[in-house]
């Protein structure tokens, strides 16, 4: 089963990374343009993906083929969202973009990975208190 998990993860990641890079939405000027409300390509990409998958999910759900489990609303979503957004504005990086960073901006990417990991420790600490 482990090998199936690995192959599945690698395949999904490969396709996702390929699509993100080919569409160009992981580029620094694009992310910056989105945050400065000057370039809406990322927004169009995201909303197209969201709306089309929303239709598919709910259609398949109605047919009983899958069960949609919505995430709960809690304070972590709001506070975490604001913290995440501030980080996005400062570094002009979103997590799915880090594969692009590895290709183009080596040093920064290492920081992103290292801190992405470190941050979970901080959160463990917060959540277990």
């Amino acid at each position: 089963m482990t090998i199936i998990f690995i192959l599945f993860g690698l395949s999904v990641g490969f396709l996702f990374g390929f699509i993100l890079t080919r569409t160009g939405i992981t580029k620094y000027p694009r992310v910056m343009g989105m945050l400065l409300l000057k370039d809406f390509k990322i927004l169009k990409f995201m909303l197209t993906a969201v709306i089309s998958s929303m239709i598919l999910f709910h259609l398949l759900g109605d047919f009983g083929l899958l069960k949609v489990i919505p995430k709960n609303l809690d304070w972590g979503k709001l506070v975490g969202g604001l913290i995440f957004g501030t980080g996005m504005g400062i570094s002009v990086i979103v997590p799915a973009q880090w594969q692009q960073e590895l290709v183009k901006e080596k040093g920064s990417n290492l920081c992103t990975i290292r801190n992405g990991t470190w941050n979970f420790y901080l959160c463990f600490d917060y959540k277990t208190r």
Binding site: G9, M32, F57, D74, L78, V94, P95, S108, L122, F124
Partner: protein, 165 residues
């Protein structure tokens, strides 16, 4: 459209191989990396969050999604002839100069906030927007709006002079 098909297919396959509908995302992959380090320390290995990332199959799979992302991104940039190596993005250099230290300090601070926020908000842009909004999850809608609200305000404060790009 391709991303939505990928997202729906992932949901199906998760149910088939892991017997649960895990949402498509990458944040748990970082959690898995954190858990790997956490398990090196005796006291942390019993932490419920570390245990969750160590044991649940979605975190293990998302770790390999992260690896696949790099390979996919590299292949796409190589195949389209857009592959190039740079230390500082051109737009950054235009407004903040050539200092690598300054760039890395910004990335360092931003990354700490990104990781902490993603862990608190139970997901990043992929999990909360691409997947969460498609599920019409109220929590994800609030998280996604918060991402953009804080990101836009921060960017407007940090780059007030950016007129046209």
């Amino acid at each position: 459209m391709l991303v939505s098909l990928l997202s729906v297919a992932t949901y199906f396959i998760f149910a088939a191989i892991a017997d649960r509908n895990y949402p498509f995302g990458i944040t748990a992959g970082f959690g898995y990396i954190a858990a790997l380090f956490g398990n090196l320390f005796g006291g942390l290995s019993e932490n419920p969050v570390i245990k969750r990332f160590s044991e649940k199959p979605d975190a293990f799979i998302e770790f390999f999604i992260l690896i696949g992302l790099v390979v996919g991104g590299y292949t796409a940039s190589k195949s389209s002839g857009t592959f190039s190596s740079e230390n500082i993005p051109a737009v950054w250099e235009k407004y903040h100069g050539k200092s690598l230290v300054k760039r890395y300090v910004f990335v360092l601070i931003g990354s700490v906030l990104l990781g902490y926020g993603a862990a608190l908000g139970s997901g990043c842009t992929t999990g909360n927007i691409l997947q969460g909004w498609a599920h019409l999850s109220l929590g994800s809608i609030v998280a996604g709006i918060s991402f953009f609200a804080a990101g836009i305000i921060t960017a407007k404060i940090l780059y007030p002079k950016v007129g046209g790009m």
